[in-house]
């Protein structure tokens, strides 16, 4: 699966300002999740992610004219991709957490472990 329209994308990133200072590092936080093609994150950031798959990395930047302050630089790693649900497409944002969405051949045994 690759990033394309209506795919739910979970990504992690390091965000830096124009001086190279780290503003945010989600490697130690929640992955950001959005539906490709929705307003979850700026289209300018979504477009370069098209075609990437889980595990891929990409460097992105935003000019100061867009951020309203200084330039921003992102080092992004794609954490997880899945199809969106009809409800999510209606709402325009993802609602389910990743761990419910393993691959079809996964023997994820959350239920068994609770027995």
């Amino acid at each position: 699966m690759v990033i394309g329209k209506d795919i739910v994308v979970s990504l992690r990133y390091v965000m830096r300002n124009q001086h190279g200072e780290i503003l945010e590092n989600t490697m130690e936080g929640m992955p950001a999740t959005y539906i490709q093609g929705s307003s979850g994150i700026l289209p300018l950031l979504q477009q370069p992610l098209e075609g990437l798959k889980a595990g891929d990395r990409k460097k992105l930047s935003l000019p100061g004219s867009v951020t309203g302050s200084g330039e921003l630089y992102f080092e992004v790693i794609i954490d997880h991709l899945r199809e969106s649900l009809p409800e999510e497409l209606m709402l325009g944002y993802p609602v389910l957490l990743n761990e419910k969405k393993c691959e079809e051949d996964c023997d994820c045994y959350t239920q068994d472990s609770k027995k």
Partner: protein
């Protein structure tokens, strides 16, 4: 000065409402400012606040409640820079318990302040949620969603323009029945009259009687995030007598048993051998299945361990270390750790929490 706190899930329209409210207040000559709180990659679209000359600050790396001091610093900075009469503070979508952890501490440490709390909800999502068995969330996320509604003194049922009159009536009746003491506002945040109506409700709100702090289970609250913990490790198993495959299977079995013995709840535990053979946790405990796994004789095997387990990644890493040592000593092999990546979202740990009715 007044601080209007907004909670509500991702997509509930908080940013649009704040934007519209700021424009209306500024047109009346009232000085405003905004503090946003979300992941940076999502906040960048709030650049439009500055393009509209609305002074703004951001709190990233977690919610207001766990970053209260950061919120406090931003309030001071805005007071120094623009002397706002009104600050809108928009909390991250997964945040709740804001009355006990943000509103009451603000009122306690800044007694001259007035603080309000509005919970925003997308009317279409509420409509889905109010149907019997209609939750589309993971159960822990569902818990946070309902707690947000429970604690909002003012519930703004937003995006009514995206709903029809029947749906609006059903949602209004449903929310009134579940939360009879709340003030409900039906709103299309792009409609000036609607936003005026919300602003009026905020103006009428008084801190004379403080709302109840939520009764909340932090274990459930934190569970949704904790379940997202992951641990990926690549190992290289090297055998001088071409038994790396067998060594790998023994390593996997020992690691699984070690995890099982410690009772860590496992969401997902998978092994990928040489990029070809997948082994899941359940398969390994099935002896029959185990026997069916046969690997060709080889001097070297690459193993990827992919785990989503409810424990700290460091704990799991230590466990992997001890199993490596055990397998190396019992088998004639060497196990190298070639890469490791892991993360554990933090358990919500508010800077302050005032559970009592008064401050």
């Amino acid at each position: 000065m007044t601080i209007h706190l907004l909670t509500g899930f991702l997509g509930s329209g908080k940013t649009t409402a704040i934007h519209q409210a700021c424009k209306l207040l500024m047109a009346d000559g009232i000085s405003v400012a905004v503090i946003t709180n979300d992941q940076g990659i999502k906040l960048v679209d709030n650049g439009f606040f500055s393009s509209e000359h609305i002074p703004g600050r951001q709190v990233t790396n977690g919610c207001f409640c766990c970053n209260y001091n950061e919120l406090d610093k931003n309030i001071d900075a805005l007071i120094n820079e623009v002397k706002p009469v009104v600050i809108f503070a928009e909390s991250v979508g997964s945040c709740t318990d804001i009355i006990a952890t943000v509103m009451k501490p603000l009122l306690k440490f800044r007694p001259a302040l007035k603080v309000t709390v509005s919970t925003f909800a997308d009317i279409r999502l509420l409509h889905l949620m109010l149907k019997p068995g209609g939750s589309i969330f993971d159960e822990t996320v569902d818990y946070i969603y309902r707690k947000q509604l429970e604690e909002g003194e003012i519930i703004v049922i937003n995006k009514t323009d995206l709903s029809d009159s029947r749906q609006i009536a059903e949602v209004e009746a449903g929310v009134k029945e579940k939360y009879p003491e709340k003030q409900l506002i039906l709103q299309d945040s792009r409609n000036e009259d609607h936003v005026h109506n919300w602003l009026q409700a905020l103006a009428d709100y008084s801190n004379d009687q403080l709302p109840r702090s939520l009764s909340i289970d932090y274990d459930i609250y934190g569970a949704g995030e904790a379940r997202l913990a992951w641990f990926d490790q690549e190992l290289e198993i090297i055998s001088s007598n071409n038994e790396a495959g067998t060594d790998t299977l023994i390593f996997i079995k020992e690691l699984q048993e070690a995890i099982r013995l410690r009772g860590f709840p496992i969401g997902h535990l998978k092994f990928l051998i040489d990029g070809k053979y997948k082994i899941s946790h359940t398969a390994l405990f099935d002896a029959g299945e185990n026997e069916r796994i046969s690997l060709p004789a080889s001097g070297k095997v690459n193993l990827l361990v992919n785990a989503r387990i409810e424990t700290a990644p460091e704990t799991l890493h230590q466990l992997v270390h001890s199993v490596i040592a055990s397998v190396e000593s019992s088998r004639d092999c060497k196990i190298l750790e070639t890469s490791l990546s892991a993360f554990q979202p933090g358990y919500p740990t508010p800077t302050h929490r005032i559970a009592e009715a008064s401050i």
